[in-house]
Subunit: 354 residues, 2 copies
């Protein structure tokens, strides 16, 4: 593999000295980019794009051509995992992802198994292909949904406003949900380790729905399985540490517990006060975030002011990866993304003077 030319992102995740604050954006390869929409049209569908390592590579690299990003992230979807478990992922136009065989009966849960990782070979092929195409330009991030977040979709069969089916199982049949979560944790661990083996230089666990749980249920049904995953991950590849980032959206109240899981960094959403978060987690983890994705609908002046404010909130020293507090909105103007990325690089040097 090629030598890594820009490892600022990896160093910041490990709180090692950096010259500026690195930046990448969740969902940076996506619908807000016209070139992405073109490639997707060429692929025929979102799923076809995910299944095609060559086109996945193409869209993964697209935002790097436009913006001075410090990391690339594998183009894929968190729901490839339940799909490999046989749940039958498909997309309904305007309604988002659906599963043909959601886990709604005890039998469905009993039959659930850790899938053969060969069913996800197209993902590992994409990792390998992207890593090659990057040629050491910036590090490649692999990712997975968290065991709990995957379970939300697997039980509901789709997205949900209130997660009624999931929560009915949680309150009425907690042991069924625990079985799903245990299998998910084993699967996510194997899945991320295969991504690392294929070339992922950092991994992020997207815990998108942890924030819908009560404080107690979060500990029991989410945190515990994040722990199981983190403790099973390969943390080194090619003689270099592979940092692990956990991002629980809506997890601002649980930062101390999340920081204790043994991950290298925590993603924080835009509701979190970054200064307080840094005080709270101390030296345990780096922090990634946390610009409101909708702040990119401001003008260049307001965007620069927000970037400045967040850099000041984190303050001096390493351990901050600039990002949004959630995925980029599909209606975002790419010019405003450039404005934010450049502002991070320009303004952040003053916080890294040592």
């Amino acid at each position: 593999m090629a030598v890594l030319h820009n490892d600022t992102f990896l160093r910041a995740l490990l709180k090692q000295p950096v010259e500026y604050t690195p930046v990448w954006l969740m969902r940076q390869a996506g619908r807000y980019l016209p070139e992405y929409r073109e490639t997707r049209a060429k692929a025929g569908s979102f799923l076809a794009l995910c299944h095609n390592p060559e086109l996945s590579t193409e869209v993964t690299l697209q935002p790097l051509e436009r913006f001075a990003l410090d990391a690339a992230i594998l183009f894929s979807d968190i729901l490839t995992v339940p799909d490999a478990m046989g749940l039958g992922l498909h997309f309904v136009e305007g309604e988002g992802p659906k599963f043909t065989h959601p886990l709604q009966h005890e039998n469905d849960v009993t039959r659930l198994q850790v899938p053969d990782m060969n069913r996800l070979r197209y993902v590992f092929d994409a990792v390998h292909s992207i890593r090659k195409a990057l040629n050491g330009r910036v590090p490649l991030i692999g990712f997975s949904g968290s065991p709990f977040t995957l379970a939300c979709y697997m039980v509901e069969g789709q997205g949900s406003r209130d997660f009624r089916l999931l929560k009915t199982m949680l309150y009425q049949r907690p042991q069924l949900l625990h079985r799903i979560l245990d299998i998910n944790a084993q699967t996510v661990t194997a899945y991320l380790n295969e991504q690392i083996a294929a070339g992922a230089q950092a991994v992020q666990i997207f815990d998108t729905w942890g924030g819908v749980l009560s404080d107690k249920a979060f500990q029991e049904f989410d945190l515990r399985y994040l722990q199981q995953v983190v403790s099973g991950l390969q943390r080194e590849a090619d003689g270099r540490r592979v940092p692990v980032i956990i991002f629980t959206k809506g997890g601002g109240q649980w930062l101390e517990q999340l920081a204790a899981l043994g991950a290298d960094a925590l993603g924080v959403d835009w509701t979190v006060n970054l200064q307080q978060a840094r005080q709270l987690v101390g030296q345990q983890v780096a922090l990634q975030g946390n610009l409101d994705p909708l702040a990119l609908f401001g003008d260049s002046e307001s965007i620069t002011a927000e970037v400045k404010r967040l850099l000041a909130a984190y303050g001096a020293g390493s351990g901050h990866v600039f990002n949004l507090g959630h995925g980029i909105n599909q209606y975002t103007n790419p010019e405003m993304v450039k404005c934010a990325v450049d502002a991070v690089h320009r303004i952040s040097t003053e916080y890294h003077q040592n």
Copy 2:
């Protein structure tokens, strides 16, 4: 007015000694009750029901016939206020509330004014009528949306997943949003004071969407206008304190700032750890909450366990009003509501032994 027979709810809000923990449920008069659905059918539509003081009274009292609730809450909708401002509220089946004239241009905002309270007379008539029908049985809660939450609907013209229009205004034209919020704050203050004059014995401010803001934007665009409302409210009627409850959904990270506003109590959603919240707010405010509304989809055993856990989390002494952490789900089984309400009364006596 009749003597109040059960003032447990009012005493708990003021942290005065009580014999048991009082309980009411957000949206306790609603679609999960067959008798509500009948009355609504009789009215013809949800809005017709809101506009009819007699039928509003009928549905307000319905849950009291089934459950041993310690408070009634005015049956109405937070969007009556922007409707009175001329925005043209209507409901589209399956899509929720919409406004015919949302605030999308500078002119719309410039023209906005505090409405004549006579346009909301039907609400005050309902308060008067309900108070009379209650005949001192339990206290009556009046309510309003918060200035910010109302602004969300007024700018978007409807509910939203990402509040893109609202946030575009917030980041690009903050002064326009401040104008809306100032007018909303004046209006909400007058509206709640009229409800108090008509007989409301406590008032709750529903800040349903504060949690979508960044930490900084919350201080600037939400908290500040909550403060404006709280400081303008009549806090006494008929020689008795009228307690004010503020409920910011997703506000768990801002409890200290919310507690400093001068309200008597804070509502907390189900993600909040009630024990930690009590420690955080100290003697400043009572707390209301915070059962996961979806916990009512469990069985009687799991519901009783959750009630027990939350009562224990708050601990001994007054200052806790049991409630859900958000409105009751429309698919809730009324039998399970009864189970929860009765469990609160049965189990809580041990925390009030002085």
